[in-house]
């Protein structure tokens, strides 16, 4: 990439400044807003590091989803009594010094790295043609390190189980307690009617181009999740009860298809999660589509939080 040194320096400084303000902001709401801005800036930084796939993920999850989650939590915690315990100045200074030391050691380690470091990039590029994919990152995610990706989906499901299990006893099968708008708002309704169709197209597009260009199941799924949440927040659609069969099927369809394809690899190819030669791309795209649905469902439910008591209407 052509050099944009001053721009890079500006982005880096701004990332640091906003990052610092998430830590030192007085009010937690301000810290949460700063964190969203920080996510936007990091997306630019990742573009400058030539990692477009990561930039897409960061813009969607780091800024958008995490930001919304934190903002909702901040609003709920306003009713809590503030915790006024502050550490004494000497301890703060000592902590600051230790943290600076950790940062300095990391920086030194980075600077002392030899110019040529071991890389798997040539190996990835050499074998990419066998998978039929054009995007090396998708190749790594779905072919070379497919087991990691599969297990990551399981981790997502486990995290969701953890969130759900925090529900009070009598609220199981309730509706997630996502914060909604106080009352229906015509402007928001309009936005929630207009944006999701665009978002759904973008989500499917992200998933589709993922095979050959930056994008993929994660990015597409996150867009779909955000659009779903928007519709729920605007009170156009109620959040589903967590016992709904279609929701549960949606949550597991991705990992299930992935696992099925993996097991089929034992028969059709030469091992677990191996794809039959020549047909790898078809299998990978199938898995990606199923995963997009599951990721959308899991991320939306994670952001929506544990269920609360079902209200009688």
């Amino acid at each position: 990439m052509t050099s944009w040194f001053f721009g890079d320096a500006g982005v880096a400084l701004l990332v640091l400044a906003i990052g610092a303000s998430t830590i030192f902001a007085r009010k937690t709401f301000d810290a949460a807003i700063a964190f969203v801005v920080y996510g936007l800036l990091l997306a630019i930084a990742w573009v400058r590091l030539s990692a477009i796939d990561v930039a897409l993920t960061e813009a969607a999850i780091g800024g958008g989803m995490t930001g919304t989650l934190l903002l909702g939590a901040v609003a709920r915690l306003r009713s809590a009594e503030p915790d006024d315990t502050r550490l004494g100045l000497p301890i703060q200074l000592a902590t600051g010094f230790c943290c600076a030391l950790v940062a300095a050691c990391l920086a030194a380690a980075l600077l002392l790295l030899p110019e040529t470091i071991p890389t798997l990039a040539p190996a990835v590029m050499e074998n990419l043609a066998d998978t039929g994919l054009g995007n090396p990152v998708a190749g790594v995610l779905f072919s070379y390190r497919a087991l990691d990706t599969l297990l990551e989906k399981v981790v997502l499901l486990l995290a969701l189980l953890g969130v759900w299990s925090l529900a009070p006893n009598n609220a199981w099968n309730g509706i997630p307690r996502l914060r909604l708008y106080d009352r229906p708002n015509s402007t928001l309704t309009f936005l929630a009617q207009l944006l999701p169709p665009v978002g759904v197209v973008v989500g499917i597009y992200m998933c589709w181009v993922g095979a050959n260009e930056p994008g993929g199941a994660f990015q597409g799924g996150t867009v779909l999740a955000a659009m779903w949440l928007l519709v729920i927040i605007a009170r156009l659609e109620r959040a589903p009860s967590i016992g709904q069969l279609w929701l549960r099927v949606g949550l597991v369809v991705g990992p299930a298809v992935f696992l099925a394809v993996g097991l089929a690899g034992l028969v059709l190819a030469n091992g677990f999660l191996a794809y039959p030669p020549g047909h790898a791309k078809a299998f990978i795209v199938t898995v990606e589509f199923a995963l997009t649905i599951s990721i959308a469902a899991v991320l939306a439910m994670l952001a929506a939080g544990p269920p609360q008591q079902v209200q009688q209407e």
Binding site: M1, W4, V11, A12, V15, L16, G19, T22, I23, T28, A31, A32, F35, L42, R48, L49, A51, V54, G62, T66, L69, L70, A73, R76, L77, A80, D83, T85, R86, T95, C99, A100, V102, A103, L106, L110, L111, L113, P118, L120, A121, M125, P136, G139, V140, L141, R145, E152, V155, L156, G162, L166, P168, N169, F218, L299, L302, G305, P306, Q309
Partner: protein, 110 residues
């Protein structure tokens, strides 16, 4: 110094900042925020190393990139779980604090 190295210096600084917030801030939600900052610093270090390992016509090593994508998603899942825990703590005790020397308001499960 190249642009990638600038971000390389950013990563460790963010790790330091996040660590500081994680240790010193008493509010659990701020700790979660700080932890996310720490994580993104680590991701950035991965990104810089990936950029340096660029070879064979790819601008950035895809293996660390794939790991970072996975990590961002898992970090979100962990954040969601942590936030749910904090909110449950609030529901149960009326406070959201980790210090043990405060009287806990008993409140039966609704």
């Amino acid at each position: 110094m190249s642009g990638a190295n600038l971000f390389g210096m950013c990563g460790p600084a963010l790790v330091g900042l996040g660590l500081y917030g994680l240790i010193t801030d008493p509010e659990p939600l701020r700790k979660i925020l700080a932890f996310n900052l720490l994580g993104s610093g680590v991701f950035l270090i991965f990104g810089v190393i990936a950029r340096r390992a660029a070879a064979a016509g790819v601008p950035s090593d895809p293996v660390p990139q794939a790991m970072v994508i996975t990590a961002i998603v898992v970090a979100f899942a962990a954040t969601a779980l942590a936030v749910a825990l904090v909110l449950r703590l609030l529901e149960q005790t009326g406070r959201a604090t980790l210090s043990t020397d405060v009287p806990v308001r008993e409140k039966p499960d609704p």
